[in-house]
Structures are given as C-alpha cells and as structure tokens.
C-alpha cells in the first residue's frame, strides 16, 4: 500500500558549488522509499553522497531537483518526527546527559513535568540509568552514543536517521550497541516506525537491515538494491549471512572494475583519468598480504578485508589502484596478483621502486606526461600550475588537486620525479 510509506525520495539531485561557477554533482536521480517497520541501509564508499542524502531527508539542506516527502508532505526544513543519530555523537558538552536528552523536548515546548518523565523513560530504555547527571566528557564512547540514541528516541520520531553511528566506536562496543538496538527494535519497544542506516560496513548492513541500497560514487546513485531475507537475530557465521556479504562485495566491485577497465581500454586514455589517493605503502601492504599464505596470490575480497581489518572504504581504493598499475586483477569478488605483482612482493626495496616506476610509466598517463615534460625542458623543472591548469580542462578543481597529489606520492616512491611543495615546483632532481 502506497500510503504506508513513511518516506518517499524521488529523482533527487544535489550539487555543491565549486568556485568559478562550477558545480560538483554529488547525488543524481536518487530514489528511495521507507515503509513502516523497515530498516533500510545505505551502503557505499565515502564520497558516494549517502550522508548528503541523509541530511536532505533530515531537512538540513535542500536538493536542487527532485522531491522528498515525509508522511505525504514535502520536506522543507527539519521536520518534526525525523530524528538523527550522528557519527561523532554531537552531544552538547555543557549539558548533562539528562539535559541533552531533554533539549529536543524543550524545543517542542512541552510542559516541564512531561519533559522530565519522557526523558527519564528514554534514558531508562537505552540503558543509561544512573548516568543522568553525568557530563558527556565523563562517558566512554559507547555510553555517549547511547545518549545520542536516547536523545533521538525521546522525541518519539517516526523515522530514525543514523549516520554511521557505530563507526567511531571500537569493535566490541559497536557490536554491543548494535545488538541492543536490534533487540529493542525487535521487541517493538522503540517508539519509532522506520530506520535509515548509513554505513560503509557491509557486515553491519547485512546484520541490521531489511533492505540495503548500494550507492555508487561520482556522482552518487543507487546502483542496486538487495533485500536481506533473514530472520532476526542474525548469525554472522551462518552460510546465508556470508552469502549476502559476498553478493554485496561482488556487486560493489564489479561495477567499479568494469568502469575502470573501460577507462583504461579507451584508446586515448589520457591524463583525464582521475586518480584516487592511495599511498604506495598501502599498495605494498596489500600486495604482501596477498602474496603470503593462505592466499598465495589470490583472495576473496571479503576474506582479505576481514583479515586485514579493512573497511570497504579502505580496501576498494587500494585494490583499484593495484588494478590500474596492473599489479593485480580484480574479477568478481576476487583479487589476483599479476606477474608484476608477484615480482613486487618478492623484491627488495630498490627493485620494488623500479617495478613501481615502470608500472607508473606504463599505466598512468599523467605520470608519463609529467615525466616527459620534465625531460624535454632545459631546466628539468615545471611549476605545478602548468599541470593543474591542464587537468582542470578535464575535471573539477578538487579532482585535479587530488590526482596531482596522488601522482606525486606515487612518483616519489618510484623516484620518477620530485616535487617541492614550498615552491610548488616539479623537477627531476632529488633534493640535496
């Protein structure tokens, strides 16, 4: 039934101004519905616009196109009945736990007696009993986020928005909080009708959500939707659970790898291919892990992510950089070292630098281009603006800065050329 939808988001578009009249497209044609009794997860890498979408739903910013409606009415500002839990807790340090929880009720203008009663009830429900008069600075991270939950729940919202609520917590505390939340939700004790959870942790999404929307980045779009058909409470070790995790990994990698291949395969693949910043050490680290037992050069992405304690956010860019440099191949949910990758793993530092340098020259057009310009010039040096201007013909200012930063960091490792940040000057000499 259409009228049980708590929230409808259709064709939403959001851009940010980016100097000189340019605009950065962050969300493009995003659709989403939230039904009663549902937990929907928004899963994607950082920069895929999922937090931006959450802020739009909360009415904290406005879209440039499309519609958002909450219980049938358009969202035109912070709506009553939509509460938010923040990644960094966002507690007011000068207010005690009780005062923090009461703030939202005071804003509603309720009578003092009711404010107190409801706040105490929420504190009780979330397990903060005895901490009423404590200040946030006296609490551990987990307890602070409980205050964040209590503060959101106390206003009896129809929709609870959670922006990576567990990512600032340590593993054990996060798991403890997740289970408590799921339990309260399952018992129907939370005065909430639907939840939207933003996360970049695949297992967290599978553990908590009824539906997961996968976001692709640049610009942010919903690339696919996966329904998690498992009863709560869910068991992380069950085969069905692992199946869902694998499926999401494959979905998330496949699309990106395809795009990367396209870019590389394009005959005139030139400097316009934006580079995402990954440090050579991260690349070397992953190569070593892949080369070692038990993987021996080939691994399941979820496995190695888990083993290396890497979040999707951290793993994908590294894997993609390795693909770009042809040190590894990504296929489905697997990553496999190439011949060069294996040689890199066995080499000592100097050989590694040489392999890396050749990989740069062969596969990264921007690196080749800068090196050629430096070789051709009599002074063997060139100002940064020389390349920045050129890049900005093809991409936004930020992406251009990022690409240059990346290529500098790679070239430094491969000793392909050097860069002096004070003078903003590329050159072939190493600093004396």
């Amino acid at each position: 039934m259409a009228n049980t939808n708590l929230l409808e988001v259709s064709h939403v578009r959001r851009t940010f101004p980016r100097g000189q009249g340019e605009e950065l497209l962050v969300l493009d044609d995003v659709n989403l519905t939230l039904k009663q009794g549902e937990i929907v997860g928004l899963l994607g890498r950082s920069g895929s616009g999922k937090s931006t979408l959450l802020r739009l739903i909360a009415g904290l910013s406005k879209p440039q196109g499309g519609n958002l409606s909450y219980m049938g009415a358009p969202i035109e500002g912070p709506a009553q009945g939509v509460a938010m839990v923040f990644q960094g807790f966002a507690l007011f340090p000068w207010l005690s736990v009780l005062e923090n929880v009461q703030l939202g009720l005071e804003a509603l203008g309720l009578p003092q007696k009711e404010i107190r009663a409801r706040a105490l009830a929420a504190i009780d429900l979330i397990g903060l009993d005895g901490y009423e008069s404590a200040y946030p600075r006296e609490l551990s991270g987990g307890m602070r986020q409980r205050v964040g939950f209590a503060r959101a729940v106390v206003v009896h919202p129809n929709i609870l928005l959670m922006d990576e609520p567990f990512s600032a917590l340590d593993v054990l505390t996060a798991e403890n909080l997740r289970t408590d939340l799921i339990e309260l939700w399952g018992n129907g004790k939370l005065p909430i009708k639907g939840i939207i959870l933003v996360t970049h942790n695949i297992e967290e999404a599978v553990l908590m959500c009824d539906r997961v929307l996968l976001f692709s980045s640049n610009p942010g779009r919903v690339s696919s939707e996966i329904k998690i058909d498992l009863p709560q409470p869910r068991d992380r070790t069950s085969p069905q659970f692992e199946h869902y995790v694998d499926q999401i990994y494959v979905e998330m990698t496949a699309r990106r790898v395809e795009r990367l291949r396209e870019q590389q395969a394009r005959a005139n693949a030139g400097i316009e291919m934006p580079l995402v910043h990954v440090s050579p050490n991260q690349i070397a680290g992953l190569i070593e892990a892949l080369a070692a037992a038990p993987y021996d050069g080939k691994a399941d992405l979820p496995d190695i992510a888990y083993e290396q304690e890497l979040e999707v956010d951290e793993l994908f860019p590294v894997a993609e950089a390795m693909q770009l440099l042809r040190l590894a191949e990504i296929e489905g949910g697997d990553i496999r070292l190439t011949h060069m990758g294996k040689r890199f793993a066995d080499a000592d530092l100097n050989e590694r630098k040489e392999i890396f340098s050749r990989a740069l020259i062969g596969n990264v057009p921007l690196a080749t281009h800068i090196r050629r310009v430096l070789d051709e010039r009599a002074s063997h040096s060139a100002p940064k603006t020389r390349f920045l201007d050129e890049l900005e013909d093809h991409m936004a200012e930020d992406a251009a800065e990022d690409s240059l930063k990346t290529v500098v960091s790679w070239a430094r490792f491969g000793e392909l050329f050097s860069y002096d940040d004070d003078a903003a000057l590329f050159s072939l000499e190493n600093p004396t």
């Binding site: 909360a58 912070p78 938010m84 703030l103 804003a107």
Partner: protein, 574 residues
C-alpha cells in the same frame, strides 16, 4: 588555534602568593627609584623637536615611514624580550616563580607611567640630541607590545606536547636545537596573532609615544602620532583625516608585507587536528619561496643555524632546569638576591610614600580607581551585549567572517585621539556630562577583542552540533541559551579578559580629551595619572600607577581567572 588571554591563568588559586607580592614590590620599587632619579636629574633641554612639525601632506609619507620604522624596531625588541624572558620563565621553575607574576604586574602598568618615569633618564643618555627621545619612544611602544607576546610564548612553551619533546631528545637534539626545531615553531601561530594584537596596541597609543609631554619636557618626534597631536592642538580637521588615511596605508602595508606572509608561513606549524578550511596565502611568501636569490642569501644563515644545533650550552634548557635544584649554593644565592631586591624595593617604596604621600592621597586615588572600575565594568558589559550576538551571527557565516575580520582589525588599531574632535564637539555642543560620554573612548580599541574571539568561537562550532540542534528543532531563545552562547563562552572569556585589561590602559587617553584649546576631564584614575604626567608630578604618577596595577591584578584574580577555568572545564569542546 587556541588563543589564550594575556594574563597568567596557570595557577587556579585566588589569593596572592609570596611571589605575587615580591613581583609587585619589585615593579613598584623600580618605578619609584626611576621617578626619584628623574626629579633630581637636571632637566636637559626642555623641548626638543627634530624640526618643527608642519601639517603639510608632503611630509606625511616621511612621517608615516618613521612611525612604521619605530614600530618595527619596537617589535624586534619585543621579540628579543619574548624569546629570552619567556623562555627563561618556562624553562627554569626557580626563575618562573618570579618571572610570571612579574609579567602579570608589568602588563597592568599603563604605558604612560613607564614613559613618564623613564623619559628623563633616556634624554640624559644623549643630552640635547633627538636620539634619547627616539629611544624613549621605542621603549614606550615596546612596553605596549611585549607583555602579551611574552605571555603567549610562555604559555605555548609550557604546553609543547611531551611526545614532541621526547622525540627531540631521542634523536639527540640539544636544548638549543630543540628550542628552534620544536618549541619555537610550536609557539609560532599564537605568537603571530599576539604580534598583530601588539601592533594594533602600538597604533592606539601612537600619539602618547611620539608626542611626549611629561612635565616641562615637551617633545614631538616626527611621525603620525605627533601629526595627530599637532592637528588636535590646531583644530585642523583635514589633517586628522590625512592621518587616518596614512595610518590605513601603513597598516595595509604591514599586513601585506609582514603579517600575511607570517601567517601563511606559520600555518605549517599548526599541530591541531581541526583543518583550516582555507590555507592562508600570501603573494609575498610565495615570491620569497620561489626566489633563488633569497635562497642564496639565506643559505649562509641556514648553514650557521644548522651548525649551531650541535652546540649544547649547559646552562640552557630543561636538563639545566632539573639540575638547578641540586645546587644548594646557587639556590641560596638566588634567594638572597631576591630578598635583597625585595628589601630594596620595599625600602624605596616606604621612604617615598613616607616623604610624599598621605593616607588621604591613597584614599583619593582608590576612589578614582573605583570610578574607573565602574566604567570598565559597564562598558565591557555593554560591549559584550552588543558584540557577542553579532560575533555569533558573523562567525556562523564564513563569507561574512572573511571581510569582517580585517575591518575589525583596522578598527582595533584606531587611536582614541582621532575621535577627540568628535567627542569633544558633541559633548560641548549638547552640554553632556564628560564623566559619562567620554567613557566610550575607553573601549574604542578593546571591544574588538570580544568580537574577534566570539567570531572565532562561533566558526569553530562543529557542524554536527549545529546539525543536531537543527534536527531537534532548537530555535529562538532556547537556541541562544543552550547552544550558541555556551559554545562561544570560553572564547568570549578570553576576549573579555583582553578587552578589560586594555580598557584600563586606555583610560589614560580616554578620560582626558582635548580639541584645540578645549580640554575635557572625566573623573577617574586614567585622568589622574594623565594629569600627573602632564604636570610632572611623579608623586601622583607613582601612586596612580600602583593603584591601577592593584585594580587590574585584583580584577584578574578574583573575576577573570576563575571564570576562565570555569569556562575551560565546562564549555570547552574537545
């Protein structure tokens, strides 16, 4: 970057310690000693002017240059003082015990008092020549610039992260190398902010320091300050505007050539996590960095510094500081010297007071002090009520902040004397009470520190907190009470401490205003000291100075310091 107030906030105790008393006795004792000497020194030429000052716009660039140079020299001396005095205070617990309270007392002494008791001595250095007067002028500017810089540096040195210090030790850096590679860079961003503040202070008192008028000694050193003084005496309004324009130009040049590059350069020394959303840029710095000539010219200096890092002076640094307590003889000697200095100071003060002052004099000065206190309290309260909401409004809008900041910075440098024509005319024409209507001049330059700090506080408010309060629908008075005001409170306190201290100092130029032959007096300690200086009555200068120091220090101790710690404990976002 966290800005600390320019008073000692380290100890949380309320009551003065023995060290505070010793510091007070020493400062006052020296002022008395100087004042006494001044009275008996034969006055040299009673009037030196390099050449007569003509209010001809053609002379103005030359005058502006001289004023600018004096300030630069004073800034150099202040830096030298900062690097030595503050370092000594921070590194040696034994010396720090005395040096910090001493700094606290020194910053409470109005600059006119320093000038009045030392001018004769400075002039006697080169009788009949302008050099002594120039020295006196630079010294006066120095006394307006040095203390807050030294405080800032001292406080930074005390808060160098221990892991940086330890890393330095592990790599075998000596104390000298650690100072230049770790400690000084760490202290740089707040120091530069304080240098800018000092520069504004220098401008505010530019007339006092250049047009020196102590008793029979009347000197007008060529410069913008003297220009303003002459223009006021001659009721020459166009000349006043020319002076404002010249000031604006010099301030802009200073900003572009000195402070912008310094800020852009010091940005690399910030080690706090908050990202500066915009890296400060300076064309001058970019030019210097790209220039090969500069590289070549600074190379020998670099090499010398690098070589010097191998030196390990034993008497410098923390190791020396920990060792010093071992030596009983050194301790004994140190305390003996202090006791002697204290006794000497006390004796001088006693003798001076006994011969010159009655309890009635003290009563008068204290009474006037209370009047000025009321003025400071009322005006700071008014300025707070006006500038706090405006600062919050501006600080939450980065676009607005970008152009409000430099304007307020210029206004902070605006000398009170320039408003004399306006103030005096209005008061005379409408027959107003000078006791009330001269008062606003006191916060003319200092109110901006409240604005600066509140803007900084509001723009440092985390985005998540703002989102949270929007999400909860907090608005109106509830928003001001529970969100906005608490979040800027620690910043406000720092601004208010700076403003209050500065206002006491400014009372000397604010409580007496003249335009042509018309001179208006308000009742108050500032006017008391200013009058005493202009007739050369050292008795009252000393008494007034002592009473003002007393008021400033007491207000700092019983009001601002506890408030500062309360704000830090309860409201600081970490």
């Amino acid at each position: 970057m966290k800005i600390l107030p320019p008073v000692s906030i380290e100890a949380r105790r309320l009551l003065p310690s023995r060290w505070d008393l010793l510091a007070a006795v020493m400062v006052l004792g020296f002022i008395v000693a100087f004042a006494d000497v001044s009275r008996f020194l034969v006055h040299p030429l009673s009037s030196i002017t390099g050449h007569d000052l003509y209010l001809d716009p053609a002379n103005l660039p030359g005058y502006a240059l001289r004023t600018a140079l004096r300030m630069l020299i004073a800034m150099g001396v202040s830096l030298g003082f900062t690097f030595t005095y503050a370092t000594w205070a921070a590194k040696s617990p034994r010396a720090g015990n005395l040096l910090v309270p001493l700094l606290d007392i020194l910053q409470s002494v109005p600059i006119l008092s320093f000038l009045s008791v030392t001018i004769v001595w400075f002039l006697s250095l080169s009788p009949g020549r302008i050099f002594g007067a120039e020295l006196a002028c630079v010294f006066t500017i120095f006394t307006g610039q040095a203390w807050n810089m030294a405080f800032s540096f001292y406080q930074s040195l005390r808060t160098v992260p221990p892991e940086l210090e330890e890393a330095g030790r592990m790599f075998g850096l000596g104390a000298w190398a650690r100072f230049w590679r770790i400690e000084a860079p760490f202290a740089m961003p707040p120091l530069i902010w304080n240098m800018m503040m000092s520069m504004s202070g220098g401008w505010f008192f530019v007339t006092i320091s250049e047009a020196i008028s102590v008793g029979k000694t009347n000197i007008a050193l060529p410069g913008i300050g003297s220009w303003i003084a002459v223009a006021i005496a001659q009721k020459n309004l166009p000349a006043i505007f020319e002076a404002i324009f010249a000031m604006l130009v010099v301030i802009l040049i200073y900003d572009q050539l000195l402070f912008r590059p310094l800020i852009a350069w010091a940005d690399r020394f910030r080690i706090d996590d908050e990202q500066s959303e915009e890296q400060p840029q300076s064309w001058v710095l970019t030019m210097l960095r790209r220039s090969n000539l500069v590289d070549v010219m600074t190379a020998p200096f670099d090499a010398m510094m690098r070589w010097s890092y191998q030196l390990r002076p034993a008497s410098f640094g923390l190791r020396a500081a920990t060792r010093e307590y071992d030596s009983r003889i050194a301790n004994l000697l140190w305390y003996a010297i202090l006791a002697m200095l204290g006794a000497f100071g006390a004796w001088r003060i006693y003798e001076f007071a006994h011969a010159n002052l009655t309890w009635g004099d003290l009563g008068t000065a204290m009474g006037l002090g209370v009047i000025t206190l009321v003025r400071v309290v009322v005006l700071i309260a008014l300025a707070s009520v006006i500038w706090t909401p405006i600062g919050i409004y501006v600080g939450l809008r980065p676009g607005l902040t970008r152009w409000v900041q430099p304007v307020a910075q210029f206004l902070a440098a605006f000398p009170a004397n320039i408003l004399f024509p306006l103030a005096v005319s209005v008061i005379v024409i409408w027959g107003l009470n000078p006791d009330i209507w001269l008062s606003p001049l006191m916060v003319l330059g200092t109110q901006w520190y409240i604005l600066f700090n509140v803007i900084a506080g509001a723009s440092a408010m985390p985005k998540e907190l703002r989102d949270a309060s929007d999400n909860l629908g907090v608005s109106g008075w509830l928003w001001w009470r529970k969100v906005a005001l608490p979040s800027v409170f620690p910043y406000y306190v720092t601004g208010a401490i700076t403003a209050s201290g500065g206002s006491w100092n400014a009372s000397i130029v604010a409580e007496v205003a003249s335009w042509g032959s018309r001179t208006l007096h308000a009742h108050g300690l500032g006017a008391y000291i200013a009058d005493a200086v202009s007739v050369g009555d050292f008795r009252r200068v000393v008494l007034g100075t002592a009473v003002m120091s007393f008021f400033v220090v007491v207000v700092n101790r019983i009001l601002w310091r506890p408030l500062y710690w309360y704000a830090e404990r309860k409201f600081r976002l970490t």
